[in-house]
Structure formats: C-alpha cells, structure tokens
C-alpha cells in the first residue's frame, strides 16, 4: 500500500477496536466541549458554576483562575492586577506544570478543534506542500506580543488573539469572531500544514515554554516494537518531538518525549497499532543502556 494513501489509525483500530484507537481523542474532545459547556451553563441555563472566560474565571464563586500570558501582557503594559488575579495565575501555572503546558492547546483551547479539522481534511484531500516557515516563529511572535504591550502600554495582542477571542465569543457572543475561525481553518488547510498552532500561535509558544518542566509526558516506552509505519508522525501536530524519543536509543536518549512543544494530546498513543506510546512522567526516562527485558517493566 502506498504510504501516502495510508489512513493513520486504521491499523490500530483494526487491531484494538475503534474505541480503543480513539480513546484519547474522544476524551480530549469531551474535555474541550465540556469546559465550554461549563462556561455556557450560566448564560444558557442560568446555572452559574463558572463565570468569565479563559482569560480569567471564577468557579463556584471561590476558585479564581487567570491566564498567565494575558496577565504577563498586563504587567508588560505597566499595570498591576489584583491579588486575586495572581492567585488565579499561580493555580493555573501549577496545574500546567503538572500536566504539561501545552495540555492547554490540545485539551482546552477551542481553536485546536479547528486546526485538527483542517489537518484532517488536508490529509483526506491529499493536500501537500504549502508555505514553509520555522516553528520557532511562534517564539518571535510571543516576543512581539510582549514588546507591543511594553511599547504601547496596551494589550494590543488581545485585539486579534483568536484563542481568547473565539472562546470569549462562544460564551459572550461571537460577532465577527467566526471570520477568525474561518481564516485559521483556511490558513491551516491551504497555506501551511499545522500553520497556526504549531508555528505561529504565541499562546501555544508560551505554554510550550511552561511545559519544558512538566511532569506528565508521553513516552515511546515500547519503542523497540515500532514498525516504522509513520502513523504517529502523520497525526502529530509537533512531529519534531517524536524522533528523539522514538529513534534516539542509539544516541543514548531516553524514551520520554521531553520537548515542551509536545501537546500531550495522546493521538500517537491512539494511532499506534504496536502500542508503543503511553502516558508517563518525565521521571520514567530510563536510559537505553538498560536491557529490553528490564525496560518493559516501565510499562504502566
């Protein structure tokens, strides 16, 4: 079979059942939609569990949560938030340091569904090529976002930030935010593969930096079973993070994906028919010098 016509995950579904081959994807969508639903319970049904939006929220009138990047922008703009906001940021930072910074991207952010859909359609339509630019661009954008706040004294990025705009729009009224959704979909579909989330988005860049020390990680802990089908590589939004963990045994690299850019989406776990990947912690990064039989004990 031509590897280009291969549908990633098909083999896994055949081997382990459809549900098993989609479990993390389903959980992820349920989390994304569930979070959105929690915010919508108030305005739609007058059940106020959570108020606000992803920039800052209050749960059950006691738990404050605040987005660290938007607060950082405010500080750069020269304004001092309240203590409540700092408590909210501390809770959020602690959470993402535990579960992985870019868990925000793959498990929370509503734009993720848009770009995942664009990538899925791109594969289905067999679209290839397009604009190529470095993944590091996002860190430049992040720098520009903070610089703009510093220079102008205003949260300039929040004028167009699609991440906050779309979630806020869904909860408070979309207005023209749909245009932003459409623009990102078209950009990812036709202009650049995974162009927004994995190359440009400064929110993702920020959470990626945060995730460099995160505890929860994906590991290719059964990498010796890899049959080079490339399914994980095709579905992964941050392909560059897989190789060191999956193929790094010769270079003495451990099987845990340590890059902060990994979104912990778990799609590689889903699509792998050989059951190579699992969630684990960064502390399980046993060096490959350990023999195979010992290493298999690491399996959860």
């Amino acid at each position: 079979m031509d590897p280009r016509e291969r549908i990633p995950g098909q083999e896994s579904a055949a081997a382990r059942g459809w549900l098993h081959a989609h479990r993390w994807l389903i959980l992820r969508r349920a989390t994304q939609l569930g979070l959105l639903g929690l915010f919508l319970l108030g305005p739609w049904f007058d059940i106020w569990i959570v108020k606000g939006n992803l920039a800052s929220s209050r749960t059950l009138d006691v738990l404050p949560l605040t987005d660290p990047l938007v607060l950082l922008q405010e500080l750069f703009a020269g304004h001092m938030p309240t203590t409540t906001a700092f408590i909210g940021v501390a809770i959020v930072l602690a959470f993402y340091l535990l579960v992985g910074g870019r868990v925000y991207c793959s498990w929370v952010c509503p734009i993720n569904m848009v770009t995942d859909a664009a990538d899925w359609l791109r594969r289905r339509l067999g679209l290839r090529g397009g604009a190529r630019f470095p993944r590091e661009t996002r860190y430049w954008v992040l720098g520009a976002v903070l610089l703009m706040a510093l220079v102008s004294g205003q949260l300039v990025w929040e004028w167009i930030n699609p991440v906050s705009m779309v979630f806020r729009g869904l909860v408070f009224g979309m207005g023209l935010a749909w245009a932003m959704v459409a623009a990102i979909f078209v950009f990812d579909l036709l202009v650049a593969r995974r162009g927004w989330c994995s190359h440009l988005c400064p929110v993702g860049a920020f959470y990626g930096l945060l995730g460099r020390g995160a505890v929860l990680r994906v590991a290719a802990d059964r990498r010796e079973a890899c049959d080079d089908c490339l399914d994980c590589f095709v579905v992964c939004p941050e392909q560059q993070v897989i190789r060191p963990a999956l193929k790094g045994a010769d270079k003495g690299l451990g099987p845990v994906i340590l890059s902060g850019e990994c979104t912990n989406c778990g799609r590689c776990i889903d699509v792998c028919a050989e059951d190579v990947f699992h969630y684990t912690t960064r502390f399980n990064n046993h060096s490959p010098v350990i023999g195979h039989e010992e290493k298999s004990e690491v399996l959860p």
Binding site: A55, S56, H79, T82, T137, A144
Partner: protein, 285 residues
Amino acid sequence: MSSKGDNPGNAARRKFLADLLRTAGGVGLMAAGVGLFARQSAALPATAIRPPGALPEDDFLGACIRCGLCVRDCPYDTLRLARPGEPVPPGTPYFVAREVPCEMCEDIPCVAACPSGALDQSLKKIDDARMGLAVLIDQENCIAFRGLRCEVCYNVCPVRGKAITLEYEHNRRSGKHARFLPEVHSNACTGCGKCEEACILEEAAIKVLPIHLARGELGHHYRLGWEEKRKAGHALVSPDQPHQYNLPKGLDYDLQGEGLLRKEDGREVPYSANPLDTLNRRSRP
C-alpha cells in the same frame, strides 16, 4: 564571497542568519500591522460608557484582560462585552445609557469582580463614580427650555437635587410663566445614564458623554479676578482712576453719549451753543 561560501560552516551560518532575518521581518510586519490596527480602532464611540471605576481609557486598554467577570456580576445586565466587529475594543465591557443605564449598586459588584484592576478597586462609594457626565446637549428640543413642565431627568436622577438641579427662569415667550431648566453639576453626576434613558424625547436631549468630551478645560494660566480677590481678601490691582477731562464747567465728555455733553439741568448755562462765543469770551481780558 563565493569562495567563502564553499565553507559549509559559513554557508550554514549565512542560511541561519537569512532565516533569522526572514522570521524577524515577518513577525515585525505582523506586529506593525496589529499595532496600527489597534491604534486606529482604539477610539471609543461617545455612546459607549465604561463601568464604574474604569481607569482612563488609555490605561483601561492596558489593564483590562477581557474576561467579562464584571459583565457576569452586573445584576441588571447593564454591562456587555464588546464583540469583534463592534466599534468598541473587543472583549472590553461597556454600556449604552439610552438602552440600559447603570443602576448604581451600593456594593459595586462589577468593580469587586474585576481581577485585572482595570476597574479601580479603591472605588468604595458608587456616588464617587465618574462613568461619564450628563450633558443637556440639545436646548432647542428639550421641552423644559421651551417652557413646558417636564423635569423627568431631574426626578429620575439617583443623586437627585445634586447632580441635576432645576433653575427657575422667566419665560420671555409667554411673558408671565417660569421655565424650569435642568442643570447638570459635574461635582455630583456619576454618569449613570438614568436621565438619558428616561428623557421623554424621541432622541434624548440629555446625554451621558465621556468626561473628556463633556467637559471643557480652562487654560491653567487663567485666573478669575473675583476668586483671586476673595482668596486674597482684597483687590489685587489698584482701582481705575476716573478719567479727568479738562473741560469747561457744565460740559462733560462721554463717548457712549457721543462726545461732548452739555449739562442742561434748567439752570442758566454760562456758555453759548456756539463754541466760538466761548473762545471769544476767553480771549477777552
């Protein structure tokens, strides 16, 4: 240069630098675009009023994190969060007085909810809020100015009798009635917009405007003579000397009275109407 380019290290470095510049240029272009867009669109329409305690607009746009918690905690659904495409910076809270004015809650829940400090936490008394300033903007159509009784704005005002007072004035049209004219006082008006909402006209004659639009500002060098006099306790300049004209007795000079005046109080005027007579008499020894 081409010979140096053969060195793989050099070529890699050049490619690295070119990529770096390309990325920096692209991102810089994006930043410039976004910055210009934000600068251009930052002007707030005059009808969009910020919540109580909002920092001055420039500071507000640097502090507000667009979370909408003030909107959620507004018990009267006065506040709304600007949607993309509206002429208000997206995600920032505002209200339109003519539609739903601020009810001036005593506990100011919107300010209490604000995590960013864009709504000033030091605002404790709602009467100290200055969301805007009511201005009786159209005296031609305000029916009070036409001599009819209305006083709706005066009566709905939550700071009744202080923020809006009624000034009695003679009705010169009818010649025998009084006009009851509403007058707004900036030292008490919170800009809540109840007056604008209640104005009985099709289009309100009294409107809440942002303070910078509603108020003039006297030049800082300017001194009002009477206030300086009151502060000093005495006149700061010596009084004008009355003009002295060296005129013959019985004559006076006043330009408003058009020049030389003859005091005709019935008594004998020692001078003839003909000035020549005086001259001739003078010339006599």
